[in-house]
Symmetry: C2
Subunit: 138 residues, 2 copies
DNA sequence: TATTACCCTATAATATTTATAGACTTTATA
DNA sequence: TATAAAGTCTATAAATATTATAGGGTAATA
C-alpha cells in the first residue's frame, strides 16, 4: 500500500495542479484542504522541490508552485520518491535493487520471475500515467 | 514490498511443493533450509493451514504437507493471507476495502481510477500464476 | 507413558512511518 | 530598515507495524 506520505504528495500535487493560475500556493492552504499536518506536509513538499517537481518562493507572498507540466510528472516518479521501490521484491526493483537475503540463486528463483512480470505490469500503468491524468478526472 | 512473512510463506510452500513425495515435512527442515526462525515460521505455517492450503499431522512422524495441488494455490491468495491488500490504496482493494480518510469523493478521485488499473494489472499476474509456476522454475 | 511435533496466545524487540519542534533564512512591504 | 510572512533544515518524539521469542497445551506414535 502507498504510505500517507505518498498519498499526501499526490493530494498536494493535485491541488497545485488545479491552482496553476496562481503564482504560488501556501503549504497552509493545502494542509487545510486535506486535513494534513502542516509540518508533515512541509517535509513532503520539500522533497518534491528537491526532486525538481515543484518550485518555491520564500518570504511574504511566497509558496509552492508546479515547475513541470502535469503530463511530465509520472506517477511512478512520485511513488519512488516518497515510498521507495514499486516492485514487490528488492531483487526485482529497477531503482532500489538489492538481493534477497535468504535467496540462494536469483536465476533459479521462481518468485523472482513472476515478480518481474508484476513489476512490469505495474510500471506499464505508473510510468505512463501522469499528474495530468489525475487532474483530468477531478 | 512483500513482508518477510509472505516471502517465508512462499519459501515454505516451495519447499513443501518440492517434497510432495514425503508424507510430511518438519517445520525444522524448512527453517534450516532457508535460515528462518523456527517459531516465526511456525506461525506462518499455521496461517497457511487455517487457510486450507496446508495440512498438518501432530505427534511423532508429524509435520506439514500441501493439501492442494500447486496449480490451485494462486500467488494472490498467499499474499493476501500474510500481507493483506494487494492494491496500492485501501479504496481500490477488493478484499480489504476501506475509504481513504482524506478523500472527499471516490467518484471524483483521479488517483482512485488509476489505482484500479494498477490493481487489475497486478491481479492479472498474481491471480493467474500459482505455486506450480514457481516450482517449475526451480 | 515418554517423546515428538504441531497448536495457540501473549509478549518483547526492532524497524518504519507519521508527526512535531524549533531555530534559521529569505522576501515583501509599511 | 524593522517587521511579519513563509519556506528551509535537522533533529527528535510518538505511534504503528513488523519480526521474533517464549512457553505451556494437545495430539499422535512407539
Amino acid at each position: 500500500m502507498l504510505s500517507k506520505k505518498t498519498k499526501y504528495a499526490f493530494h498536494a500535487l493535485t491541488y497545485l495542479g488545479k491552482h496553476r493560475d496562481q503564482k504560488t500556493v501556501l503549504i497552509h492552504d493545502i494542509s487545510e484542504e486535506y486535513g494534513i499536518s502542516h509540518k508533515f506536509l512541509e517535509n513532503i513538499l520539500l522533497e518534491l522541490r528537491k526532486a525538481g517537481i515543484l518550485g518555491s518562493k520564500k518570504g511574504k507572498g511566497g509558496g509552492y508552485y508546479l515547475i513541470k507540466e502535469p503530463k511530465d510528472v509520472a506517477l511512478s516518479k512520485v511513488i519512488r520518491l516518497l515510498d521507495g521501490p514499486i516492485a514487490l521484491l528488492p531483487c526485482v526493483s529497477l531503482n532500489y535493487y538489492e538481493p534477497c537475503a535468504e535467496c540462494k540463486s536469483e536465476a533459479l528463483c521462481g518468485l523472482n520471475k513472476v515478480m518481474i512480470q508484476v513489476r512490469d505490469e505495474m510500471l506499464n500503468v505508473l510510468e505512463n500515467k501522469s499528474l495530468a491524468d489525475i487532474l483530468d478526472k477531478e
